[in-house]
């Protein structure tokens, strides 16, 4: 059994993503997913949100959240399919799809947060 280099890296990404998601997502989701749509809180005006998003720290934090969050999903979801549904035979294609989607999503996030804004 050879020592693996890939698994520790995957676990690091998974862990970092899980921690960021745990700390940041509930607050953001309550605001934009529930409280503002239901009218419990007034939506901030466009100019303010744009200014907040354009701030370099915001961009960096949100980029980290998106990229690491997607890699967190990729690692956890592939294990759920491989162990949970016993699809080990298809593990190559499952890995390719999960990490492929994570990479694609990360590129979209980088484009939106760093270039378009």
């Amino acid at each position: 059994m050879a020592k693996t280099v890939v698994e520790p890296i995957r676990w690091l990404l998974f862990s970092a993503g899980g921690m960021l998601a745990a700390l940041l997502i509930p607050g953001l989701l309550v605001l934009f997913g529930v409280a503002i749509p239901l009218g419990w809180l007034d939506a901030p005006d466009h100019g303010h949100v744009l200014a907040v998003l354009r701030n370099p720290i915001t961009r960096l934090v949100l980029l980290a959240l998106c990229v690491l969050g997607l890699f967190h999903w990729a690692q956890r979801f592939r294990y759920t399919l491989i162990d949970g549904l016993q699809l080990k035979r298809h593990s190559d294609i499952i890995n390719f799809l999960c990490y492929g989607l994570a990479i694609a999503g990360s590129l979209v996030a980088a484009d939106l947060l760093l270039r378009t804004l």
């Binding site: 280099v5 698994e7 520790p8 294990y79």
Partner: protein
């Protein structure tokens, strides 16, 4: 409390049938009897053909692991009165091949245990007088993991071990940690080669069932989780400083 209880015991006699069956035994229900006492009563007075492992009957040898009503338990540490009025289902330990009745094949676990080198590894013996000294704090670092009695209830509880038979398993990793964290040991890099593999710690998805099942409060899930950052650090170090000293 009723004075009798029924045990539904798995019977597997390979010379008679290809599949296990269940056999009911109605036995006295004594308030201080364990499952093991019940099985011994069956063997001595009802059906001498029943096979099962046991030894110390006090929760230290690790021989009598079985599945009781779906949960992995030590037969000597589980009491009939807690399951009254019954019936109580007694099956062999999950995730292991069944040899006969309640006896399972444990060779896989023993191989994996030896693979992690569960002994003090040193390159040289220090010329000390008497024994190596260890402070209480140093002892506390690994003491919890030294409580393991190799009963394999954690392997029975772990879904990953059932799905991936190559997984090295909770007890083996906890015992590797017991030595890694021992101040007298110098062998952690040797154990790293065995632990930081696809079938070592990286198969573990922290289900946590192993810790729940452990009768000795070893917390193997905690041991594995503690080792993951260590393994990451060692891997990165080896990558970035390939000629660093080992």
């Amino acid at each position: 409390m009723a004075d009798r209880i029924t045990l539904q015991v798995t019977r597997y006699l390979p010379e008679e049938s290809a599949r296990p069956t269940s056999q009911d035994y109605e036995i006295p229900l004594r308030k201080d009897w364990s499952i093991l006492d019940g099985l011994n009563h069956i063997k001595d007075h009802v059906d001498g053909t029943l096979s099962y492992r046991w030894s110390c009957r006090m929760g230290i040898c690790g021989s009598c692991g079985m599945t009781v009503n779906g949960e992995p338990k030590l037969a000597c540490a589980t009491f009939l009165a807690d399951y009254a009025p019954g019936p109580v289902r007694i099956e062999p330990l999950n995730n292991f091949p069944v040899v006969r009745d309640l006896v399972v094949e444990i060779g896989d676990f023993l191989e994996k245990l030896s693979a992690v080198k569960p002994w003090i590894i040193r390159e040289d013996e220090e010329p000390v007088e008497g024994e190596y000294l260890q402070t209480p704090t140093e002892l506390a670092e690994y003491k919890q993991f030294s409580m393991c009695i190799n009963c394999m209830l954690c392997y029975s509880a772990c879904p990953v071990y059932g799905l991936e038979p190559g997984f090295i398993g909770p007890a083996a990793i906890a015992l590797a940690q017991r030595y890694n964290l021992d101040s007298r040991d110098r062998g952690s890099h040797e154990r790293l080669d065995v632990l930081s593999t696809d079938e070592g710690i990286w198969d573990c998805t922290f289900v946590g069932e192993c810790t729940r099942a452990c009768p000795k409060h070893v917390d193997p899930a905690g041991a594995i989780q503690r080792y993951k950052p260590t393994a990451v650090a060692e891997t990165l170090k080896a990558f970035l400083l390939p000629r660093g000293k080992r």
